[in-house]
Symmetry: C2
Amino acid sequence: MGRKRIRDIRNEELIEATIVAVHKRGYSVVTMAEIAQEAGASAASINYYFGSKEGLMEATMRHLLRKLRIAMIEGYGAAQTPKERLYAVMDANFSDALFTVPQCSIWMQFWANAPYSPRLARLHRINRTRVRSHVRAELANILPAERVETARSALQCYMDGVWLEAAQSESAVNAETARQAAHQVVDLTLS
Amino acid sequence: MGRKRIRDIRNEELIEATIVAVHKRGYSVVTMAEIAQEAGASAASINYYFGSKEGLMEATMRHLLRKLRIAMIEGYGAAQTPKERLYAVMDANFSDALFTVPQCSIWMQFWANAPYSPRLARLHRINRTRVRSHVRAELANILPAERVETARSALQCYMDGVWLEAAQSESAVNAETARQAAHQVVDLTLS
DNA sequence: AAGAAACCTGAACGATGATTCAAAAATAAG
DNA sequence: CTTATTTTTGAATCATCGTTCAGGTTTCTT
């Protein structure tokens, strides 16, 4: 068991260091040496664990996607009505665990770089499709069919835009405030 | 006069090539050689005109910002009411000249990289501030004061999100459709 | 036409950074 | 305490790319 443990601990540490380092320096500019320094390790050890820089980035993105999935499932469980489930989707995106400047920042970095990396693109596409079908399914229970697609697009664009703005923010962001604003947007969209 | 002309022509050509090349390969990955090839020139000549890669990128961003400014001024002139001027702001963002996949794509690239380049960051900040105050000013004429800021944020996030989505699109995007959707969003936000 | 100015490029330079590797250090097993 | 296994890293390798520069070509001026 101890065997498995150390590997997991290192993985976790290196991924956290990656988030911080990428936020500080930018996805494309950050070097293995910088990430290693952030984690108190050496560049060579990162390759030992992740095989390559791209492997590290993919693992980091998986880490964030897992967080999002968990937040989503959690909120979905409690929700009863379609509208509450819509709220839950928004709340997952703006949950305390996810909606921080470094994470929004790195998310944007992945966004911008996904089209040029097949491995990132694949993860990105899967996530996007999943969120889309969730939102669409709930909207279909509330709005007439011809309004669903417009509303879905508006809500998803709004979510993306909020993340983008958060990524640029120079001070800390407030997740609770973001959730309240998102609820208002949902309400408007459904009116 | 002929002196000035050639320089302008080359600048234009190189910037267009930059947009295409960055869209194809990504801001951080694209090389001077690739951009040069796209323009049918040599990497050295780009340095002759723009001094450095960063200079080229800055010029390209200025080019896009100028386009946006022009589209905005144009629409503003015709608009009479505050609501029409709001439409005009949205329409500028989704004008035929700007709302294409390569341009949204490169815009997103600049977005993601601006925080790490003082020269890009400066341009980016100026533009963002300008759009924000325009939207805020128009909303202040329509909505009660306490709703202005929420509405402004919602509209701006929406615009950003639409660009982001367009940047990821694999097929061509339709500017007219985007404008119509944007008008609907404005209407909902004001309701 | 001849000289000057602008324009262009191939080749060389210099710096950087991901990855590999051999060997050391730490840890576990017997 | 040995031996085996896992973990770690400094140094070497290898490749890439932005930039410079010297010299050539074209365009303009007179």
